[in-house]
Structures are given as structure tokens and as C-alpha cells.
Amino acid sequence: MSAPQKITGPTGPSTSNLITAEELLGPLKQAAEGVKKKPGLMKSTVGYMELIKKYVERIVTAKDEGKWVATHGTQQPLEIYEAMGVRGLFIEFWGVISDVVKLESVPEALNISASTGTPGEVCSFFRNMDGLMHAGKWPRTDFLLYATSSCDNVKAYHTLGRRYGIPSFGMERPYLPYTPKALEHWKNEHKRLIAFLEEKTGKKLDYDRLKETVRLSYRLTELTLEIDKLMAHVPCPMSAECFGGVLVAIRLLPGTQDAVDYLTALRDELQERIDNGIGAVKDERFRVLWSCFTPFWDPTLMGFMQQKYGAVSVGEVLANWRGEAKWLLDPDDPLGNLAYRTQLAPGNCQYASSQDWASNVVDQARRLKADGAIFNNNWGCKQASGLGRLVGDELIHHCKVPSVTLNVDVIDSTFVSRAEIESQLDSFFEMLEGSKAYQERRAMA
């Protein structure tokens, strides 16, 4: 990465709260230890914190261990990275974990981004990266890797790569993904990615190793589906402190034994809680589905909702596998399998039609017996801003599940006040409780 521009000084934006990868590690270690002693939490909270800590540690220690770091977007074949000694750094996660450890870091990074002329209307995951890169606080990155399949903001990878001297590679994903021609094209894009990585690392991909990472990744999918079934239990056994664990495992660490071990332990604990009649809260009053994404900007909101309203989060669209998700079509064709997986993967409905997104949400609402849905309209997300109404209409039409829209920024905690969010939630749950559909559903439960 080229040297950052000097931005401190009497007129430049503040950089004192920006958090680096190394600075994240200390608090994460403390948190992992702290939750061991905290009563009332799910046991898997420890594993969850350990998994996050390990993820950050992998990035921090990559260079010393002779590995590479790729900052990347959604729908990447991380199994290939893993097989080639490339450690992924998921851009979205970086904003989220910064909020978990130090809420002040993201707003400061966004200020720096704004000072370079980047408008505040584009996605803050990317603006956060922009600001941190500009200040020289983004983790050391060897490549920027991305695909069409998330959103228009992926243009930023090449733009920022050019600005900071980081090589980048983008994969073009067809819009209609399941035609033979589209699948073939997408598989070829995986080959081009491998060629790019082989050129940059000087290392050949070991296909036997790839088969192994693909096998582990498939196991992760199976575990996710098992957990999904357990989440449908009333009362829901998953408590807020572990809710993000599945997403972290499947979107950050596919192809790793660590992720498989974590989801195995989580699944077992959820089953144990069901067997013992333990739910997230004593009195589960509402089952909530996040129909856009979870409240990344406020790590305490889900726990608060459990405590105040008895509202338990039962699902979110970005962690939802479609159908049975049988993507391991041919164990001897790891690339073909991966091409299929990255088309099918949770979150891919972002890139599809609004109806596709809505059908995923409706499917979840039915399976997970949701009472209400919360749609987070992220200020910088042009995918979301055009589909909230349609998703809400479909939920009502098919399942009589009402939605509330919260206007937020996905990681900027200063965008909207907590009081305003609480006020909206007060009204929403009051409305929900009084609705005929809710009362009928509860009577049948």
C-alpha cells in the first residue's frame, strides 16, 4: 500500500479515535475472557468471541506467517483464498467489529472520507474503508477482490486500489445466474481469479487443498441449515449475544475447521436448550425477522429488544440459505461447486430482483414463525432503498407479518439517535401486539 496522505493538523479531521487491527485485538481478547465469567449468557458466546478474535488475529499475523491479505466484498469464493494462503478481510465486517469495540472510530473514518470529496450518500462500509485507508489505518492489504454480485459500490475497490496502489480483481457475475451459459461464465471467472492470485502470490493453487476447503465449507452449510431448523422452535433458543455467530462463520470463514467447530458447538447448545425448555428470554412475546440486515450500527439493540419487549430475533435475510442448498454437486469439481455456491449463497438476493429478496424473507417468516419484521433502510444502500415497501407488502400478503422501517446508517451510530429508534420500536411492538394476525398466531402457538 502506498504511503497515506498526511491529514492531521489544525484543519484536518481528527484521527485520534480510529481503530487499527492491532488495537482491536486487545479488547477482543478481553471480551473473550470476560464473557467466560459473565452469568446468563449462552455458552457459545465464548466460542463466538474466540472466532472473531481469531479472524482479526489471522489478519494481523498474516505477514509474519508468510500469508497474504485480501480485502474483499460479498460472494467471494473464500475457499480458494483459504487454499492459497490468502486471508480474507471482509470490508463489511470491519465496520461492524469497529462498532463493537469502539463506536467512535467509524464516524471519524467517515469524516476523513468526506474530507477527500467522497459523498456521504454512498455506502458507509466503503466510506469507512476509504477513511481508514486515507489515514493509513486500514489493515495491510495485498489485493482487493470483489464481484458484481453485491452492489454498485464495488466500483470503489478499483477506485481505491488505484488511489492507494493495491492491485484489484473483479469477477463479473451474470444477472440471471442459473442458465448453463451463465454458470460456465461464472466458473471461468473463478479460474481468472485463481490466475490473478497465482500471479500475485507466485504460488500455484493446490486442488487437493481446495477440495478440502470446499468440503469444510459444505459442512458449514449443512450446519447452518440444521441451526436454522432449531431457530424455528418456539421459544427460540438463540439469544441475542450469539445471533451474529452464524453470519460470521458462513460469510467470513467458510473453508476453515474453526468455523465448522464453532457452528457444531452452537448447534449442540441450541439443541440442548430446546431439550431443556430454555428460550432466549423467559417470556417470548415477539419473534422478529430482520428483513434487510441486523442493527450493526448498535451492537446492543438486539439484547435491549429481548429485555424490554421480549422480542427475540429469529432470523435475518443475509444469513438465509435458499432451499436445501445442496451445492456440492460433484466433489471432484471444486470450482464448479464453488461457482454454484457463490451464486446460491446467503445475501445473494441483494443482487437479484426485489421479488427474489422478498421471497427469501417470506420463506424465512413462514419457517421461523415471525410475528414482525424490521427493515433497516441503510442511508447509503441503494439496493435497500428501493425494496422496503415491496418486501413489506409481500410479508403482509403471504404471512400477515407487519414491518417497520428504520432509517439508519448501517455502521454509523451517530446517524440516528437511540431514543428515536426506541420510540419507533415502542410503537411497532404496541401495534403488533394489538393486531389480529398476531393474536391468532399466538393463540395457535
Binding site: 477527500t116 470529496g117 467522497t118 459523498p119 450518500e121 454512498v122 455506502c123 466503503f126 458484481t148 452492489c151 454498485d152 459500490n153 464495488v154 466500483k155 470503489a156 475497490y157 478499483h158 477506485t159 488505484r162 488511489r163 473483479g170 463479473e172 451474470p174 444477472y175 440471471l176 442458465t179 451459459k181 451463465a182 461464465h185 471461468n188 471467472e189 481468472r192 430482483s353 426485489s354 421479488q355 433502510n377 442511508w379 447509503g380 441503494k382 439496493q383 432503498s385 428501493g386 425494496l387 422496503g388 415497501r389 415491496l390 407488502d393 422501517t405 432509517n407
Partner: protein, 381 residues
């Protein structure tokens, strides 16, 4: 004072009122179907070859109150998309028989989905818009175009031939040639048309039968030739950024002592650029042209070519200053802003960046900024 251009007047008459115009009504009255399209990765030639009228779904010169649309598309989305959906809700696009879009932009996709869900038209389709400009991208796009042609043929119960597509390519190539000629004339020290007039010409191209448009373009160029029309303004501007269909916005810039001599919009110069190769099989020729044959646009991942193109326009058109008009919430323009500014600084070209809402008239604030910009250009001269 220059006399109004008769051919342009006729274009405006035929394309008024917007959007269900004289031309649209005539077309429908003769039993023709109208297929709307959203963005520049939908080849009009294919719709034309099917014997239908391609019509670009946009806003126009009048601002639209978008409150109803904002119940469907929240206000943190591009106002062009909200405008189009509002026009649909107001019944203005009731004449469309179909709609074709591409995956060029997240917001276009959402608009398409709204049509599909709340107001499904007899024919609806979507093609991929490649972000790269290489052979793989051409092949991917070609494959999507072929699928589109197959589905469109099914809709009609009639497969339109390669020969028909080749014929349509000729018609559209002629249109591009004529529009390019107009752009060439604008390189003159005293261009024959204003930017606002040129924008009206570009809009007419996508709102009326192309054969008729081509005839009127020939008349327009002849008229310019015979009248020796000249626009006498002190400063020459290049407008870049978002597609703006409100010619009044452009006219507001030109109400000062400046003329827009060229633009970098999809609605503008990109529509007048290059030719589809008539030596290739027609579908392949279209794919190559739409992916590789036009200047790099803001949606391409690698913007270097776009920045170069802007720089070349500045030189070729002897531009004094660049005005970047960016519709708020456009992700692509957002990520190009830094580099556009940097490039203009490096080239020593004055740049005015204006954030605005699509379709809104130029307000006092914008006028003040443009005035200040022109004063700055004057003092720098």
C-alpha cells in the same frame, strides 16, 4: 438572435406532450407497440427490429413531485428513479406495452422490480450490463442479448431475422452518424446550437421512430448549414455527470455568458458515438458495440478511460470549464468524484461540481455558483 430551428421544433412537436406524445399516439394508433427501456445497455436496435417503438423511460423538463413514489422508493435513492416511478403512478406511462432494462445500476433494477410487481407489463425483460470492457464481457453480454432476443421472439410468436436486425443497425448507425455530425459542428468557435437545444435533439432520438428522427436530423443539419447559425457566448462549457433530461437546467447555465459545447452524458455524446460494425454477424456486432464501442461510462469498474475521455473532450472542444452535474445518491458518480477532481486539477481545467435533484429547475443557489464559476473563468483568462 438566432432563429429557432424548424427541424428541432418539429422534433419537439412530435415528442410533446411528454411522455405520451404525438409520435407515441400516432404509433399506437397504427397498431404499434411501445417498449420502454431504462438505460444504455438495452440495444434499441433489437426492439426496432421486432417492429416496435423503443422509448426511453425518463423524466423531462418539468419537475415532478415525488411523494407518492417515495412510499415505494425511499428518499435516499436517486431522484431520476423516483421521478420515473412517480410518472408511472400518475398514469403517464400507461402506453407502454413492455419494458426492458439492464443490471447497470442497483436503482434501475429496483425500478424494474416495482414495475414487475405493481404494474406488470405484457413484456418485461432484463439483460446484464458488463462492468468490464474485455472479450469475456462481450461474450457474457452477447449471451444475454441472444436470450433476450429468444424471449422477445416468443412474446411476438415470431422470430425476427438477422437481416431485420442488420437493417435496424443501419438505421441506428445513420442516426449516430448524424448526431455525431452535430457534435462536430459544436467544436466551432461559435457553435450552431446551444447545449439545451442539443439535449432536446438527443431526447427526441429516443422518443420517436428513428427513421423519422433521422430525416429531421438531416433537415436540422441542412438548416444549420444554410442559416449560418452561431451562438455567441464568451465561455465554453463541458457538462459531465448524471443524465439530465431537463433542458431548462442546461438553459439556465446558458442564460449566463456561456454555452455548453459538449457533454459526457449517456443521453448525449455516448448516443452519438461510433458505429456498430456491419461486417460482423448482427448480434455479435451489437454486443461488441455496446460493451466496447462507446466511451467508458461511469458504471464501468475501471474509470481511467472515462477520465481520459473527459480530458480529450476538453481539448477537442476547447472547453474553458467543466460542470459536473451529479444527481444525488448516484453511487457511480460518487466514487468517481475524487478522481474527476484530481484529474481536472492536474490538467489545469476549472471544475464546478454541483449536486442536484434530477428534473428540478436550476435554483438561485445554483445560478450563483455558476455565476461565480464563470467570473473565475473570466479572471483566469
Amino acid at each position: 438572435m438566432n432563429a429557432p430551428l424548424k427541424a428541432l421544433n418539429e422534433m419537439q412537436r412530435l415528442t410533446s406532450p411528454f411522455p405520451e406524445s404525438v409520435a407515441v399516439k400516432e404509433w399506437k394508433a397504427s397498431g404499434g407497440q411501445v417498449i420502454g427501456w431504462f438505460n444504455p445497455y438495452v440495444p434499441e436496435e433489437i426492439i426496432h427490429a421486432a417492429g416496435m417503438l423503443p422509448f426511453e423511460v425518463t423524466g423531462d423538463n418539468e419537475p415532478v413531485q415525488m411523494q407518492a413514489a417515495e412510499a415505494y422508493i425511499y428518499s435516499n435513492s436517486c431522484s431520476k428513479i423516483r421521478t420515473c416511478w412517480q410518472l408511472q403512478l400518475d398514469g403517464k406511462y400507461g402506453f407502454l406495452d413492455g419494458l426492458v432494462s439492464s443490471s447497470m445500476c442497483d436503482q434501475d433494477k429496483r425500478l424494474y422490480s416495482l414495475f414487475e410487481y405493481y404494474n406488470k407489463l405484457p413484456y418485461m425483460d432484463m439483460v446484464y450490463a458488463p462492468r468490464k470492457r474485455d472479450e469475456e464481457a462481450v461474450q457474457l453480454y452477447l449471451s444475454d442479448l441472444q436470450d433476450f432476443r429468444d424471449r422477445f421472439s416468443l412474446y411476438q410468436w415470431h422470430r425476427f431475422s438477422d437481416a431485420k436486425i442488420a437493417k435496424s443497425i443501419e438505421v441506428y448507425n445513420r442516426g449516430r452518424e448524424l448526431m455525431h455530425e452535430l457534435y462536430e459542428l459544436r467544436k466551432r468557435d461559435r457553435p450552431p446550437v446551444t447545449g439545451a437545444e442539443a439535449l432536446e435533439v438527443s431526447k427526441a432520438a429516443v422518443r420517436m421512430p428513428r427513421e423519422r428522427f433521422n430525416e429531421l436530423m438531416e433537415q436540422l443539419l441542412a438548416e444549420i448549414q444554410s442559416t449560418g447559425r452561431e451562438i455567441k457566448k464568451a465561455k465554453r462549457l463541458l457538462v459531465i455527470g448524471s443524465d439530465l433530461h431537463n433542458a431548462n437546467q442546461m438553459a439556465a447555465l446558458e442564460s449566463l455568458d456561456a454555452v455548453v459545447v459538449v457533454d459526457e452524458m449517456d443521453i448525449g455524446i455516448r448516443r452519438a458515438w461510433g458505429q456498430v460494425d456491419t461486417q460482423l454477424p448482427p448480434m455479435e456486432a451489437l454486443a461488441r458495440y455496446y460493451v466496447l464501442g462507446r466511451p467508458v461510462d461511469k458504471h464501468n469498474w475501471v474509470s481511467d478511460g472515462r477520465l481520459e475521455f473527459i480530458g480529450e473532450l476538453v481539448e477537442q472542444y476547447k472547453v474553458d470549464g467543466v460542470v459536473s452535474q451529479d444527481v444525488r445518491f448516484c453511487t457511480y458518480n460518487g466514487w468517481d468524484k475524487f478522481d474527476v477532481k484530481k484529474q481536472m486539477q492536474e490538467r489545469g481545467i476549472p471544475l464546478l461540481q454541483i449536486d442536484l435533484e434530477y428534473g428540478h429547475p436550476a435554483g438561485a443557489q445554483m445560478k450563483i455558483r455558476v455565476e461565480a464559476f464563470l467570473e473565475m473563468l473570466q479572471s483566469a483568462a
